[in-house]
């Protein structure tokens, strides 16, 4: 219809430039319209006869519009547009040949639909005007000669990478346009901004043809599950499970986590509206040390179309290391004893403590080496940085020398350790921290005044962030957890502190009787590490005022101490940007190698010993990253699906610097089961950003005509008259017809 009325396809008007071909200037046209309008006004007023004011005005407007249209046509309007020269340009046709294209849409697969579009008309039509280069693509593009070479076997699709490859290969060719046939399922999660802007810079329009339904009728799909790559043994873990559903809004579903076939946690959730992403945290115990494959699933609901996307697997390295925490305490007190007891009950932690029992005596506990730190608090980086966490109790700031204060700051900043500042009569504002360099480390501001330590029993209360925090989670259910905290015994004392600093997270408040509430437990990230303040030394009452079988106090302290150290890196810190290889094989391993003072080591020998799912072992050498001192990297192909454990070992001059474990998992069949709906948004965005158009399979036939209009390749500029468009004559007819009809109705013909 559009083309019937406007003579040309919509693409001509979208891409062309409007011009007036008459030699006279435009201002003359405007002047002519105004003059004609004036004359007609004079004429209509003089001969209005039976026409009243409004009616004469309507007649004048219709006549003026008619004259304006005629004058406009006299100026010879046209569209100037660049068109690809026939037979001189190349059009790249890229067909998604990944496994997701094998999904059936009614009677035939998406791939079959694409082949149908190409073979029935499109390839032939394009071939009449252009040289056509046909590609299949998955992670990368491959030239093929005919559509029968498509087999829907490629394990992953990466639209951005494949496009860049085709555009690069065609850099020397007169590439006029790209036609991309796909369901938009991209394993990298889309096309990043960088890639998109690189494609856009080439000014080659990418026309996309989408296949597949945009949403299923009845389905629940887990779209992601976020878990930490590492965790300490027996620690509390949180899996943030994201999913969406169609057709089950308002119903209940059971989300579960299983490890080694054993149910670790489950939770019933109410499903949100169709297509709305929904995230639910699931808490569970990490279990014993070793790589742990976790299956996160949602129980299938009646009538689900696809049950394969109801579960996915994640691999977590449950670490064998026992992080060490150094606890410096300035005076004997009950808090110290019960913190020690909580740590002793946690087999994953080692707490070494130094307690000033008298002015000049320090009582050390928890040191395996009887001579370690026997001279007092560390004065060298390698002494302090041997620990993963640091607790500073009721110790005056000036007890530490300037060197020690610098070390403490670097402990969080450079070494990446966690520091916890406790309350007490020599702590925080009372201990002179406000005017010491250590104030920078605190996640709260300190008051100027003294007398801020109060031995008054006080209640504590979780904040909204505290309710969500793993540190404060005593029972799994958030509501029951909040109720549990509300029934806790009072703290024996508290320190006044100021507001949390920007970026800090306030987890718990103290609510002293007759006073305003104030921050009690606050955490923040600092440098590569993290700091926290717990402005009391009176949590021991949680132990002494609850039944001896109650583990609340120990649980809280173990979780707080684990928060301090669980992300403290070792001297060798391994990582991989993608722990799940979804239908992929290539994995990148990285390692940051540091010496005892946690300074980067540039000349280390770094090797990864990788054990695959079948037990086969192999070694890969990591090479230095030129732009990053102390960083090493390697790429490796995971040949088989399943879980892999890579132990990265770094050495220098026959000395081992350290080792770390990285786990990753190759998952096949993701494309067939996950994100199976057409990602129309991505395809439309890609077309819009590059100057192309998005077509559905049904209207893809228009593409062959519209593709010619492109600035890329070898073009010629055409001028297309628009004065003879049927719509112009219809408009003229409408104007005259309307005037005639009105005059007849008003009896002034």
């Amino acid at each position: 219809m559009f083309e019937f009325l406007f003579k040309y396809p919509g693409a001509v008007f979208e891409k062309g430039q409007f011009v007036l071909l008459a030699p006279w200037p435009v201002w003359m046209l405007a002047l002519g319209v105004i003059a004609a309008g004036g004359l007609l006004l004079w004429h209509v007023r003089r001969n209005r006869g039976l026409l009243t004011g409004v009616r004469s005005l309507v007649i004048w407007m219709l006549e003026t519009a008619m004259v304006a249209l005629l004058l406009f046509l006299l100026w010879h309007p046209a569209i100037s547009i660049a068109t690809l020269r026939p037979q001189q340009n190349v059009v790249a046709v890229m067909v998604d040949d990944s496994r997701s294209m094998a999904i059936r849409e009614g009677a035939e697969t998406r791939s079959a639909q694409a082949v149908g579009v190409l073979d029935r008309k499109l390839l032939a039509a394009l071939g009449q005007k252009f040289q056509v280069r046909l590609y299949r693509f998955g992670k990368e593009a491959e030239r093929i000669q005919k559509t029968s070479q498509l087999n829907r076997s490629l394990p992953a699709s990466r639209l951005g990478d494949s496009l860049q490859q085709v555009l690069a290969e065609s850099a020397t060719l007169p590439l006029g346009a790209v036609v991309l046939l796909s369901d938009g399922a991209d394993n990298s999660g889309g096309i990043d901004l960088d890639t998109m802007s690189q494609i856009r810079r080439l000014h080659i329009p990418v026309h996309t043809i989408g296949f597949g339904r945009e949403k299923p009728e009845k389905d629940i799909e887990i779209t992601d599950a976020v878990l930490p790559a590492h965790a300490l043994a027996d620690s509390r873990l949180s899996a943030l499970v994201t999913f969406r559903q169609y057709g089950y809004a308002g119903q209940k579903a059971l989300v579960s986590v299983r490890g080694a076939g054993k149910l670790l946690a489950s939770r019933e959730v109410q499903l949100k509206g169709d297509g709305a992403p929904q995230s639910e945290p699931l808490l569970f115990n990490a279990g014993p040390a070793g790589p742990q494959t976790l299956e996160i699933s949602i129980d299938p609901l009646p009538g689900e179309e696809n049950r394969d996307n109801n579960s996915l697997r994640r691999l977590v390295d449950i670490e064998t290391r026992k992080p060490r925490i150094l606890y410096m305490e300035g005076e004997p007190r009950w808090e110290f004893k019960f913190i020690r007891r909580a740590a002793e009950d946690d087999s994953s932690l080692q707490l070494a403590s130094m307690l000033r029992t008298t002015q000049n005596k320090i009582y050390r506990q928890g040191f395996s080496d009887p001579h370690e730190l026997e001279e007092g608090f560390p004065v060298k980086a390698e002494e302090l940085f041997a620990f993963d966490g640091l607790i500073i109790g009721s110790v005056e700031a000036n007890y530490f020398t300037q060197t020690q204060q610098d070390l403490i700051r670097e402990f969080a900043n450079r070494r990446g350790g966690g520091i916890l500042f406790l309350g007490g009569r020599f702590a925080l504002a009372e201990g002179g921290y406000l005017h010491s360099p250590l104030a920078e480390l605190l996640p709260v501001r300190l008051p100027e005044s003294k007398g801020t330590f109060h031995r008054d029993f006080s209640n504590q209360e979780l904040t909204a962030q505290g309710r969500a925090s793993l540190i404060c989670r005593l029972v799994e259910d958030p509501e029951r957890n909040a109720a549990r905290w509300a029934s806790m015994p009072q703290l024996a004392n508290y320190n006044e502190v100021g507001e949390p600093k920007p970026g800090a997270v306030e987890l718990m408040d103290v609510v002293p009787a007759g006073h305003r509430r104030m921050p009690l437990l606050v955490t923040e990230n600092y440098g590569r590490g993290r700091t926290a303040v717990f402005a009391t030394s009176g949590s021991w009452r949680w132990r002494m005022w609850q039944d001896h079988t109650d583990v609340t106090h120990a649980t809280f302290w173990q979780q707080l101490m684990r928060y301090l150290v669980s992300d403290s890196p070792g001297r060798v810190a391994g990582s991989t940007p993608r722990a799940v290889l979804a239908d992929e094989t290539k994995v990148t391993l990285r390692a940051a190698v540091r010496d005892k003072a946690f300074k980067p080591v540039p000349n280390a020998v770094v090797e990864a010993h990788i054990v695959g799912p079948d037990g086969a072992a192999t070694s890969v050498e990591l090479t230095p990253v030129p732009t990053e001192e102390g960083a090493y990297t390697a790429e490796w192909n995971a040949e088989k699906p399943g879980s892999y454990v890579a132990e990265i070992v770094a050495g220098r001059d026959k000395e081992e610097l350290g080792r770390d474990v990285v786990v990753f998992r190759r998952e096949d069949g993701v494309a067939e089961s996950f994100h199976t709906s057409q990602n129309r948004e991505l395809l439309q965005k890609l077309a819009a950003e590059t100057g192309g158009r998005y077509y559905s399979a049904a209207n893809a036939g228009r593409l062959a005509d519209e593709i010619s209009y492109s600035e890329a390749g070898i073009t010629t500029r055409e001028t297309k008259d628009v004065w003879d468009m049927p719509v112009v004559f219809l408009l003229a007819l409408l104007l005259r017809g309307s005037e005639w009809m009105l005059r007849r109705r008003w009896g002034v013909v």
């Binding site: 005076e331 007190r333 009950w334 039944d547």
Partner: protein, 266 residues
């Protein structure tokens, strides 16, 4: 009769205090010693630690002490004099005055270090035994002192074995941290009471050999420290008296301080 009324009134006071979960402050009770000391000016200071004396019933074993029973032996001078040493020799924030608690209310849970004297004359009720057991299992520490000979040992056992029927009482090894946490007390002497002035004997009854015994928890930590055939309380009380030998006082102070530091670290 008047003393009994005072004790009952104080018990009621404790119960009310526990109900409102407020930490009890210092309160002076009638003592039974002839060497009174004034209430220190900072007796009401809120501190981390206070010398907490257990007020226990003596029941049928009270005959030699009268209605009030044996719990206030050496009270309050021993307590206050020992605290002076704790304050001078350690960094513990210690109150100058003692705290008296019983096992009938819950106030004892605010004081994780507990001292009892003359436990060869105590007679805990079953409810008090249960409270003591719970207190110790939660992390409380109990030091008992000044009882002598097999007769008093048996009286002591009669109550403590209802607290822990299934836990043995053992001699503390010389290497145990409790003897080294601040002062090294691997070698120890018997500390006599002031009867030593009159008799010249350092033992009482048939208790010629001093014992440092304990009941341990499941993690190997001392819960109950038993100073048997010795009288640290007198050594503290008479530390300022020229007739009481310094060597006994010195050990008693060190022993008491070690027991406190141990209780605050283990």
């Amino acid at each position: 009769m008047r003393r009994r009324l005072v004790i009952r009134a104080s018990l009621v006071a404790f119960s009310v205090t526990a109900l409102f979960a407020l930490q009890a402050t210092f309160r002076q009770f009638p003592g039974m010693e002839d060497d009174p000391v004034p209430v220190p000016p900072d007796a009401y200071e809120k501190t981390e630690w206070a010398f907490t004396r257990l007020m226990y019933p003596s029941g049928r074993h009270a005959s030699v002490f009268g209605d009030i029973g044996s719990w206030p032996t050496d009270y309050p001078k021993a307590d206050r004099q020992f605290v002076q040493g704790v304050r001078r020799l350690t960094r513990i924030h210690a109150r100058s005055s003692e705290q008296v608690v019983d096992l009938d209310g819950d106030e004892v849970f605010n004081w994780p270090w507990l001292y009892a004297v003359e436990v060869g004359h105590w007679s805990l009720t079953d409810a008090e035994c249960a409270k003591m057991r719970e207190y110790l299992l939660r992390g409380g520490f109990f030091m008992c002192d000044d009882f002598h000979g097999s007769g008093e040992w048996n009286v002591f056992l009669e109550s403590i074995q209802r607290v822990f029927p299934d836990r043995p009482i053992v001699e503390i090894d010389n290497q145990d941290p409790i003897f080294h946490v601040l002062y090294d007390l691997g070698e120890r002497i018997q500390v006599p009471g002031i009867q030593y002035w009159y008799t010249g004997r350092i033992w009482e009854k048939d208790g010629k050999t001093p014992h440092w015994r304990a009941i341990y928890d499941d993690a190997g930590r001392v819960m109950v420290a038993i100073c048997f055939n010795q009288d640290n309380g007198d050594a503290w009380e008479w530390a300022d008296h020229p007739r009481y030998p310094e060597r006994y006082t010195s050990q008693a102070y060190r022993m008491g301080i070690n027991y406190i530091i141990y209780a605050m670290t283990h």
